[in-house]
């Protein structure tokens, strides 16, 4: 029973006891008073009658009887008897039955009024003539008592209602601060480390202060750990000289771009190579060479500005790279680059004639990474053979990309689900013991009735642009709920980063989930990391609503925004899926291992499950439990019947 209810019942019980007690005492007192009055009346009247009779000189029986009858008939008596000294009845008058009752029988039974009969002596000269025994009727007393009780009960009712009203107001005032405390405690148990304003109630104030302190310490701990991990990750993934992503990190990106579910369908890879770094070293010294490398990196950084999906990197030595996802024309990227680097050379490095070459290749998602890299190398070799400071593109695969106009996309999105153009592809996620944790379900869409199933990367960016992302997400959740209804196990669904900021989407999502409340505990919802930190308040809202229904909430592609990880402390996140770029080749990356170990430790402290994504082989898989992972997914774990690889060849 809740504390509030207990207090309520206590107040109710106390009020009831107090009022019932006072009612009983009152009735009892009134009854005692009435009994006493009746007894007094009995005695007084008996004596008055006896006094009158004593004065009759010859005790004429008729007069005596008349006196008694007159007294009886004009008063309110149960009985009057005149007994002779031996106890024999001389005259007797008794109230016959049939008088109207003054109060209900049960009440009379409960509170009987028993007045002592009055006894008085009648004198005949010196001799005793007899004694008067007189008992008054208790009926009117009962009626009085009954009315008093009714009136008191009325007051009791009014008083009780008033007390109840005041009590509930007082209770609300008392428990309002308590509610906040409970809310905080609940939040902490859901791993949302929130602080609240300490209430002005001293007892609660100390509780809240203690909890706030604890929350502050926990958050500080996470912040410290996050900073450490962030630094570590930075060191692991960045080239110390230029600050660009290093080779390992870049290769992860490239893998992702070629293999990931939501990667754009195509892109361009550029490789830039300085011609003779050793000569530059000799000529300008080590520091000079480093400065040149930094300036080249600066050019790449500048080029990246405004392109969310361009990823520059230094591959080591004289080699730089730029991965430009979702681009199709190498020349639009390479030509400005060449121009800028030449400008740079003209400004500061005039002695260097032959500075660099660029090789570019256009790729499509699903291409083999080795083939793409080879293609880029071939283009670079071509450029080196052609002329100093030039770029070349390798036309590895010139097949045309299918172009669908926006209008057509709108039509496709609008009735995708009703026309059977959507489906879910499921990928297993296992825990450390190989048991199923859930299935991660990805959206698939086909643009024609007989067309190939396309992955999210093909159409989600377009859907976001055309404002269809929210309705597609809802479609996916509907399908997932249907799947949950038909099969056991849990399903995880990716929500689009942009849609969670949409208030209307969240409202419709909550409504949809509420109508399937019984399935919600088996539904896991996840949002990409950049979506979470981009719309932190929206995500907090979403998390609260979704968790209220029992669903789990998670973050996917996790690990890039560790500096903000302390925000996780009050989001109530249930699980994170660590980005595949950290998992790749983990068995050969001691640095990443250290990073992931720290990340898992921190997540574990927050009670958050950590799942590795993109696990490719047994060696990687075997290492994960030791690092602290709770689950894994990827090719090593298993694919859907029609896996991604099969989708590529449309």
């Amino acid at each position: 029973m809740s504390l509030t209810r207990r207090i309520w019942l206590t107040i109710l019980g106390l009020t009831l006891a107090a009022f019932l007690g006072s009612l009983l005492v009152n009735i009892h007192g009134a009854r005692a008073y009435l009994e006493e009055q009746l007894t007094m009346k009995n005695l007084d009247n008996a004596n008055a009658l006896a006094l009158s009779m004593s004065q009759i000189p010859d005790k004429d029986p008729v007069t005596i009887e008349l006196l008694l009858s007159a007294q009886f008939d004009t008063g309110h008596y149960q009985e009057i008897r005149l007994l002779d000294p031996k106890g024999g009845v001389l005259v007797e008058r008794q109230q016959e039955a049939g008088m109207e009752a003054g109060a209900p029988a049960w009440f009379v039974g409960l509170f009987p009024i028993r007045a002592t009969p009055g006894i008085a002596q009648v004198q005949d000269g010196w001799k005793q003539y007899g004694s008067i025994h007189l008992a008054s009727h208790a009926q009117f007393a009962h009626r009085d008592l009954w009315r008093t009780s009714l009136r008191l009960s009325g007051w009791f009712l009014i008083g009780g209602l008033l007390a109840g009203l005041l009590g509930s107001l007082a209770l609300r005032a008392v428990t309002r601060p308590l509610d906040k405390v409970v809310e905080q405690a609940r939040a902490i148990s859901e791993r949302r480390f929130i602080r609240i304003e300490p209430p002005r109630v001293p007892e609660l104030d100390s509780v809240v202060s203690a909890m706030n302190d604890m929350v502050a310490r926990v958050r500080q701990m996470f912040a410290d750990e996050a900073t450490r991990l962030d630094t570590l990750r930075d060191r692991l993934s960045h080239d110390p000289v230029t600050g660009l992503a290093n080779r390992e990190h870049f290769m992860g990106r490239l893998h992702d771009a070629l293999e990931s579910e939501d990667a754009p369908p195509h892109g361009v890879l550029l490789i830039l190579r300085l011609v003779d770094l050793a000569a530059i070293n000799r000529e300008f010294g080590h520091a000079g060479a480093d400065r040149l490398l930094g300036e080249i990196a600066g050019v790449l950084e500048t080029a990246r500005q405004g392109h969310e999906r361009w990823h520059p990197a230094r591959l080591g030595g004289p080699d730089f790279a730029l991965l430009a996802e979702n681009e199709t024309a190498p020349e639009t990227i390479a030509s400005p680059l060449v121009e800028r680097i030449l400008n740079l050379r003209d400004e500061h490095w005039t002695p260097i004639e032959d500075l660099f070459h660029i090789g570019a290749i256009r790729y499509r998602r699903g291409d083999a990474i080795a083939a793409v890299l080879t293609g880029a190398d071939r283009a670079l070799a071509l450029a080196e053979q052609t002329a100093p400071n030039t770029w070349m593109a390798s036309e590895q695969d010139a097949s045309a990309v299918e172009v669908i106009p926006a209008e057509t996309w709108r039509e496709i999105f609008a009735d995708a689900i009703s026309r059977g153009r959507l489906k879910l592809a499921h990928f297993p996620v296992i825990d450390n013991h190989g048991g199923a944790m859930h299935r991660e379900s990805f959206i698939r869409l086909r643009t024609r009735g007989d067309g190939p199933w396309r992955p999210a990367g093909d159409f989600m960016p377009i859907a976001v642009r055309l404002n269809f992302a929210a309705s597609l997400d809802l479609d996916v959740i509907r399908m997932a709920l249907e799947e949950l209804r038909q099969h056991d196990g849990a399903i995880a669904i990716n929500l689009t980063a942009e849609t969670i900021a949409d208030w209307e989407f969240r409202a419709r999502l909550a409504e949809l989930l509420k109508t399937h409340a019984e399935l919600c505990p088996r539904l896991w919802l996840e949002v990409p990391e950049y979506g979470v930190f981009g719309h932190i308040e929206a995500f907090r809202d979403l998390s609260r609503e979704v968790k209220r229904l029992g669903s789990k909430i998670g973050i996917e592609r996790f690990g890039h925004r560790l500096a903000e990880i302390d925000l996780l402390a009050d989001l109530g996140v249930d699980y994170v899926k660590v980005d595949t770029s950290f998992i790749r080749d983990i068995d050969r990356q001691p640095g990443n291992q250290e990073f992931l170990r720290g990340l898992c430790r921190m997540a574990r402290n927050l009670g958050i499950l950590v799942i590795a994504v993109g696990v490719r082989d047994e060696r990687e898989l075997a290492l994960l439990p030791e690092l602290g992972f709770d689950g894994a997914t990827g090719p090593a774990v298993g694919d859907d019947r029609d896996n991604l690889a099969g989708l590529m060849n449309f």
Partner: protein
């Protein structure tokens, strides 16, 4: 009511009697237990209250009761009558107690060695009750007393104790005006008006238990008397 020697108007006796009776009857009744009597305690309390001289009187009173216990009832009555008539001086309440009308307890009467007709009657009544005489055989009787011989026109309000050996018999009158107890027929100077005894006044109220707590307790002279006797050590 007093026993002043004043010419009696017929009505005044009536009214006085009625008033007193209602006061007595006002509300009955503390009860006294006449079987258990702790003489030592009574004597101790009386000594504290009235001084050492009372102890002697009380001892005589106790001796008289012990001596009378074995006698026939009527002899007990005569013995008690004689005891009080001999030792107690007649006096008006206004002189003894400085109030117009006061019912003294037997101990108070013995302490002052003085009392009016009511004090005599009360002392005799309770002593006889303590000696085991049932209530039914005793009556406190309001009577008109003619003073100054059979032809006298002067009357006074008076109270005597009547002992009825049999309910229908002529009572034996225990009176302080003349020394010895005589049957009623030999008391032509007294005209009875009304009588009462503890019956009906004793009886506690069945429902409320102890009635001394009730608001009317002090309204009744009878109960006032009983209450005071309780403080004197009577159970």
């Amino acid at each position: 009511m007093t026993c002043r020697l004043v010419p009696l108007r017929a009505a005044s006796l009536w009214i006085a009697a009625l008033a007193v009776v209602s006061l007595i009857a006002g509300l009955a009744a503390e009860t006294l237990d006449f079987r258990a009597l702790d003489h030592d305690r009574i004597a101790r309390l009386a000594e504290q209250r009235h001084g050492a001289h009372v102890v002697q009187s009380l001892r005589q009173w106790r001796d008289m009761m012990q001596a009378g216990a074995g006698l026939p009832e009527e002899d007990r009555a005569r013995r008690v009558n004689e005891f009080f008539n001999r030792r107690i001086q007649f006096g008006e309440d206004i002189d003894i107690w400085k109030v117009n009308d006061f019912w003294a307890t037997p101990v108070e009467t013995m302490a002052r060695a003085a009392g009016d007709c009511e004090d005599f009657s009360i002392a005799k009544y309770f002593t006889l009750r303590l000696l085991g005489v049932p209530d039914q055989r005793l009556r406190l009787i309001y009577a008109r007393a003619r003073i100054g011989g059979p032809r006298s026109e002067i009357s006074q309000a008076h109270m005597v104790l009547g002992y009825y050996a049999d309910p229908e018999a002529e009572p034996l009158i225990l009176d302080n005006l003349i020394h010895d107890a005589r049957p009623a027929s030999r008391r032509p100077d007294l005209t009875p008006v009304f009588s009462f005894n503890g019956e009906g006044l004793w009886v506690g109220n069945a429902a409320t238990g102890n009635p001394s707590a009730s608001a009317t307790a002090r309204l009744s002279r009878w109960r006032d008397l009983i209450a005071r006797m309780k403080t004197e050590g009577f159970e």
